[in-house]
């Protein structure tokens, strides 16, 4: 398989993975809710693919992820822009500082989840003058991050299994 085909494979599988995870996230994830908190599988997928394939993958997949996560929230543009930027930055940082491993991916997924949720809180509630950030941090943001870390190995192993976490030689 040539590099071009590998790229197509990664992009196609990645896109389908996000769509599938989005559908599962919106239909079945509440089955595994703990204390009203469910993990964010899409963040795991985004981190995973971005750490493997760099800033461009981060920006594109971040945009897809943002469009999907923003669906029906009324903040679809904000989600798209934020996740596109964060994906690109994470890809850039990963290229320089972070090597993809299960541990790194899990920790970054948690951190990414916290960061995204803080931004979401700021844009959706903070700008409207709503207080209660620490309550949200304690009751939503941190539990979700922990739960996302806990499930991130599943996504990692699935992606590893379907061979989208193999480096593509430039």
């Amino acid at each position: 398989m040539g590099n071009k085909e590998k790229y197509i494979n990664v992009w196609t599988v990645g896109m389908f993975a996000f769509i599938l995870l989005y559908i599962l996230q919106t239909t079945l994830a509440d089955i595994i809710e703990i204390g009203g908190i469910k993990p964010d599988f899409m963040i795991c997928a985004l981190v995973c693919l971005t750490m493997m394939h760099g800033d461009m993958a981060g920006a594109v997949f971040g945009t897809v992820c943002g469009i999907l996560l923003g669906l029906g929230t009324g903040h679809d543009y904000a989600y798209t822009v934020v996740l596109c930027i964060f994906g690109a930055v994470l890809g850039f940082l990963s290229r320089i500082y972070l090597r993809l491993s299960l541990f790194n991916m899990a920790v970054v997924s948690g951190a990414f989840s916290v960061l995204i949720n803080i931004v979401i809180f700021f844009f959706t509630y903070g700008l409207m003058g709503q207080s209660g950030f620490f309550f949200a941090l304690w009751r939503v943001i941190l539990p979700e991050a922990v739960y996302t870390i806990a499930v991130s190995p599943i996504i990692y192993l699935i992606f590893f299994r379907i061979k989208v976490l193999r480096p593509i030689e430039e």
Binding site: Y22, T26, T27, V60, L71, D76, T80, V81, A88
Partner: protein, 282 residues
């Protein structure tokens, strides 16, 4: 400005610009995000399928828990139904008892000269032929031998034996028992007596009816008061069949007793009655 040559930066900036433009355009036109809208349209059927499937699967364990609940509820309802059926049986019993007691009350009201004692049937004849039974009243309540026994429908028999708290009653079906009788309509007299051949059918025989007597089927037969055992005018039964005696001098009739002698529960013992009532029939 070297970073602007980076493809990623260009992509990010493009996304930002598109988003801003769409946002401004959307706000000015009052339309939503076309990208989100399209993605939503494409994905919603899949979400619907999965959610429907999930709900279908979720209903499976509910089926079992509901089944348990329904089983318990069914058991409770069955018990409730059983209670209600029991109550209904009681009501039916009370209703029949009420009818019987009403008839007895009417009997008492119609014959103020009667001194009556109500009694329950305790036991039936141990033999195969139901001709006598035991009641729960005896000499303590003033019952005496040969007292007539009746129900609201008609006469039953008489007291043959008296104990302190019990008495034995012989029915009019018993062979050898005789009752002075007459046809209600024509006032023709006869003698009612038990008959072995008719005993099995629960019938008795009215004999010694004059050949010239006016008696037809379905005539009512009542006590004549002759003999002094039974008061005059008590219903005995109805004529079912009429025939000529073998010697040809008189008629006989097969009588169906008015009282159902095969299922007696309560009877009335007439402890005393006006002699006039009996005598007037003589």
């Amino acid at each position: 400005m070297n970073f602007l040559k980076n493809k990623v930066v260009i992509f990010v900036i493009t996304v930002i610009v598109i988003c801003i433009m769409l946002s401004i355009l959307g706000n000015s036109l009052g339309a939503g995000n076309p990208v989100s809208n399209t993605v939503g349209i494409v994905l919603s059927p899949f979400q619907k399928i999965i959610t429907s499937t999930r709900r279908g699967l979720e209903s499976v364990p509910h089926y079992f828990t509901d089944f348990k609940k329904l089983e318990t509820e069914n058991k409770e309802l069955k018990e409730h139904l059983s209670d209600l059926e029991s109550q209904l049986r009681d009501v039916e019993r009370y209703k029949l008892e009420n009818v019987r007691l009403r008839k007895l009350l009417d009997l008492q009201n119609g014959h103020p000269d009667y001194e009556i004692e109500m009694a329950q049937v305790l036991a039936y004849d141990p033999g195969n032929w139901f001709t006598s039974f035991t009641i729960d009243k005896g000499s303590l309540t003033g019952i005496e031998k040969m007292d007539p026994v009746i129900t609201g429908e008609g006469i039953v028999g008489y007291v043959e034996e008296v104990g302190t708290t019990w008495s034995t009653v012989v029915t009019i079906l018993e062979p050898g028992v005789t009752v002075g009788s007459m046809v209600s309509r024509s006032r023709d007299v006869g003698i009612l007596e038990g008959d072995f051949e008719l005993l099995e059918k629960g019938r008795c025989r009215l004999s010694y009816i004059p050949k010239s007597a006016n008696i037809i089927k379905d005539d009512y037969i009542e006590t004549s008061g002759l003999g002094g055992v039974y008061p005059k005018g008590l219903v005995i039964g109805m004529v079912e069949e009429i025939g000529l005696e073998s010697h040809g001098l008189s008629q006989y009739a097969v009588i169906k007793p008015a009282a159902d002698l095969s299922s007696l529960c309560e009877v009335v013992v007439i402890k005393s009655f006006s002699e006039e009532g009996a005598a007037s029939g003589q």
